[in-house]
């Protein structure tokens, strides 16, 4: 690999937001946008606000608990549109790409 290309690659991976892995970008967005307040830093539903919510958030690592499907597409849809129960508000400020990245990280945390 030419030195110049290698340098660009190193710089790109060192800049926050430039991670090449969708799940890595997703976790950064998950933390920056405050998802951890309810869902916890690792998505276990144990964020600081969780005990005081009318409907406690689920453990995102348990794929059996997803009422509307546990695929990345399903999760991204719930992020953007919220859930019918209104337990989860719609985060429609996120772009489709951002929601997809967050969903990629969440799915990477799932155990079957």
């Amino acid at each position: 690999m030419p030195v110049r290309m290698l340098t660009l690659l190193v710089v790109a991976t060192a800049i926050p937001g430039c991670a090449s892995d969708p799940a890595e970008r997703g976790h950064r967005l998950y933390m920056a946008h405050g998802c951890a307040v309810c869902h916890g830093a690792e998505g276990h539903g144990d964020g600081p606000t969780a005990p005081r919510l009318p409907l406690p958030p689920r453990d995102l690592s348990d794929a059996r608990l997803y009422a509307r499907g546990a695929s990345a597409a399903d999760v991204a849809r719930s992020i953007r549109r919220g859930t019918a129960s209104r337990a989860m508000p719609a985060f429609n400020d996120l772009t489709d790409a951002e929601a997809d990245d967050i969903a990629a990280w969440i799915v990477s945390q799932q155990r079957q």
């Binding site: 937001g17 950064r28 933390m31 920056a32 946008h33 405050g34 998802c35 951890a36 307040v37 309810c38 830093a41 964020g47 600081p48 606000t49 005081r52 919510l53 009318p54 409907l55 209104r86 337990a87 508000p89 719609a90 985060f91 429609n92 400020d93 996120l94």
Partner: protein, 193 residues
Amino acid sequence: MRRTIACAAIALAAGCGQSPAPPASKASAQLRPAFGGDFTLTNQDNQRFRLQDIRGRAALLFFGYTSCPDMCPATMSRIAGALERLGDSRGDVVTLFVTVDPTRDSPAVLKQYVGAFRTPLIGLTGTEEEVSRVAAAYHASAEPVPTGTANYLINHTTAIFLIDREGKLRKYFRYDEDPDTLAAALKAVLRTE
């Protein structure tokens, strides 16, 4: 909080538990000079905080409460998105989260809350009187909504207030303002001073 935080002459937008009541226009509004102003509250480290303490930096101020299930997390996400769009200038902006629920939102509770955000955030609380005074200055209101459990909700003003480097309130935005619009307004404030 068992009584209503000071009500305002105008309701900007209220949320949490009920549908928000948006202002007539989605466009941000210019504000009169008497709107807003300096205040003193207590931050998440149990230190007294004056708005003047951040003079030289712009601020986005938001009234909310840490157990809010919908409007507050959604608004904080938009603010995070706006700050991401600022690039290196994001350090020139402070985000202030003023609780309208001082009974439950102690400095310790606020510390846990702000710690869950990677976006820098200052959580502010105080006595009911102190919080009421700040809310009145920003024409914000809050009203408890009983749920039959200890986890009551609060309908509250959800506007996002933009404060310039001199501590003057410049504009307010709806809670669902596009992050691009918020970022553009922040850039304009940072550029003109």
